[in-house]
Symmetry: C4
Subunit: 252 residues, 4 copies
């Protein structure tokens, strides 16, 4: 086994595609968006990536079969805009692996002459989100201005510090290769899978790509999560009846 | 020293053997089964595997001598079914090592033209097991159906998530090489060495391999463990007299 | 991507320069001094160093753009004394990386025929510093004597034990290459960024290099920190009114 | 820098020397013995070993100079028995490094045609030692018998489990190379540097090697430690006056 193995399943012809990355992370926001896109758009899997930098385990499918932890690349062709979409089970668990797998994605991007990269993720604020927002970062100043037009917020103090993992490294390492890249981070509590935040990110992305994607599946999941949150709130209030409403944000 | 060293002690001729892996893990279930089989069937050691991915220590034998941490491969010949059995002191302590040692086992399997792999382990449920069961996972859909016939349970929700270490990776990496593989996980509390769970796993395995193996040694160890558990229960009740019976499951 | 990538931006001619290292560490003392020097002296960036031993993340700038974690080398020319200054976002997060990146700095030092190295850092004492002091260590006995003249203290018991990271390794590995090197450690609490300690270190360094550098910017930051500390003290006293003054040192 | 660098300072001619290893570990027993021997016997340093598997730091000497973490090999010639002694500042901090550095020692041992290896350490029992004893382990059955004659105890249940680090690996890896090796472990509390345990180990070693070594320096250090322990006991009794004497063992 190689340190990183790219299993190409299919060669496709794409016209200056945009690359979208949505791997597991805070609130699973990025992965939710990428998987929703793959399903709704019926994108085609063209490559699988295995690596000993992923956790040493297999995941069990509902039918009793298993699969190795892997990342996957999908392709989607259309008249306006071709896409490459990266999603997967896990990110690297080693420091070195994070860098090398991001480089593997960029090799792939250059091979397909990718014109731009969007990396997707969540930005955890430690309490329930009142108003959905999408924060941004980019590897070129011009991209910051362009993204503001689509409703992305760039704040002096936030996302603050650093963007960890593939969503960050694709911007940083992409810059060294001259590939324009933007990171979109949906505000999220950070404690729960957040399909509502995923919707907010997807809306911006659709605007930027001039695409229309049905969001019903994400809305349904968001409603389910709302019920979970309601139940958690009730349990909490039953247990801690004297805790005031505004304090709940910190422990949910 | 190489990263992974295979010391072949003997070349044997085997007829499409089945490979059985039982290394240390939850409840030590897999190791108990593999070591019981080696002893009862008088299997012959044919290889030792050393690696700097094992813990940097030696183990002290009862006679005052020591041995390096290692994995071992045993061979057993019979009219019906030849076997290769993997057991050992430890699994890898590094991420990379888990993958590379599993690949080493698979190289070995291919060299001996292994027809199928059974990996054995425990599935910890966090409380004492009321009814022994064996859960399964496989790397081919057909194997799931076959295993159900032998009494293996495949549940939509369990083993749930992931199977860590050699027992999982041999399925996942084996699939990439086209080797059929099944994982059998005995239900166990997860807190104690569990020879009773090992018996349950061995029974299924014997059925699947059409083998008969005396289980007295495992029964004896299970009885000893029962006494240990009884004593632990008594100690607990003495200390926490007002704790209700059903709560004990969580802390045993 | 290479394990360590040196991106040389510019070749400069320097006359037996002195190398100064100030990377993040205790109280950020070293980094504060190095960055202050780069700014006040308008030193020129001549190289950037990237490595997969840095954290797998990008840092977000105030304008919404990002940068990879990196170390930087600056050059400064003058009639008396040319300088090379190393600063950066992070130090290695792996054991091996610490050694290899320090060796990269030393390769660079030898290429520029560096005559001496000063490494800068903080020495955390676990409580607020009453009297600013600078402790020293060196990789040659003669340097210890010379440094005492500039006000550096060498104590039998302190800095005690070890100097971790680039500030230590440049002395130790530098000795193997025959490059004289001194480490200057400003006393600091260890809990807060400490521009006051940075001033004390810079004063000594200016004396040793026979340089004059305006310190106003560091003084301003030190005053801001003083206010932060005052507020922390007040908050603490409000919360724990009965705690005696001398005990506060341990929890600040 | 190489992963492991052996700096040979001197070539000596030795007659089938015995190799003694005493590196830092439980109670620092092994290091105390090895360093005492080097000093009392005036052994000559013949090699230094540097590695990026040691901690990324320098140690500060009392005169203000620093040294890289390293291991050292000393030689001692006599009419009866030549010796090689390994001591040093640290052991590897990585899994792989433990194996590779032990292999480096064994390469050295084979180059000098070492006839036997003694590895020295402490065996922590979690309470103050009432009667000094030295437990043993060996990589050949014949050595177990021989060692019993010198007063080494081999117990079925102890040292129990495993011997971690160089003291263990030199036996295990030495066995693969056919070099006879014994590990001597002095009983010690495990909480404090233990020169008394070191004396017990040294006594056995002198008997086995038919050597006489003055132990006054170790006795002096042991007396100092006794005073420290007395003071700790007093402090403890002052704080927890109702705790019974036999319970103290667990918290000292």
């Amino acid at each position: 086994m190689e340190e990183i193995e790219v299993h190409e399943l299919k060669k496709v012809k794409l016209n200056k595609p945009v690359l979208i990355e949505g791997l597991p992370g805070v609130g699973n926001v990025g992965k939710l968006v990428a998987e929703h896109m793959v399903q709704e758009m019926d994108a085609e899997k063209i490559a699988e990536i295995y690596s000993w930098h992923f956790p040493p385990q297999v995941l069990v499918n509902n039918d009793g079969t298993v699969r190795l932890c892997k990342n996957e690349i999908y392709a989607w062709k259309s008249k306006n805009q071709d896409l490459l979409i990266i999603s997967g089970d896990q990110q690297s668990v080693t420091n070195e692996g994070h860098y090398l797998i991001a480089e593997t994605f960029l090799d792939f991007a250059q091979q397909y002459e990718v014109s731009r990269i969007y990396t997707l993720g969540g930005y955890g604020i430690g309490q329930l989100v009142e108003r959905q927002k999408v924060l941004g970062a980019a590897n070129e100043t011009a991209l910051v201005e362009e993204m503001r037009k689509y409703g992305v917020e760039f704040r002096e103090e936030e996302p603050g510090g650093s963007i960890v993992g593939a969503s960050g490294l694709l911007l940083g390492l992409g810059r060294l290769r001259g590939i324009p890249a933007v990171c979109l981070l949906g505000l999220t509590s950070g404690y729960l899978v957040d399909p509502k935040s995923a919707q907010a990110v997807l809306k911006i992305l659709c605007r930027a790509l001039n695409l229309e994607i049905d969001m019903q599946a994400l809305k349904d999941r968001a409603e389910e999560m709302e019920k979970v949150i309601e139940r958690l709130k009730e349990m909490e209030q039953a247990q801690v009846p004297r805790m005031r409403e505004e304090e709940l944000g910190y422990i949910r």
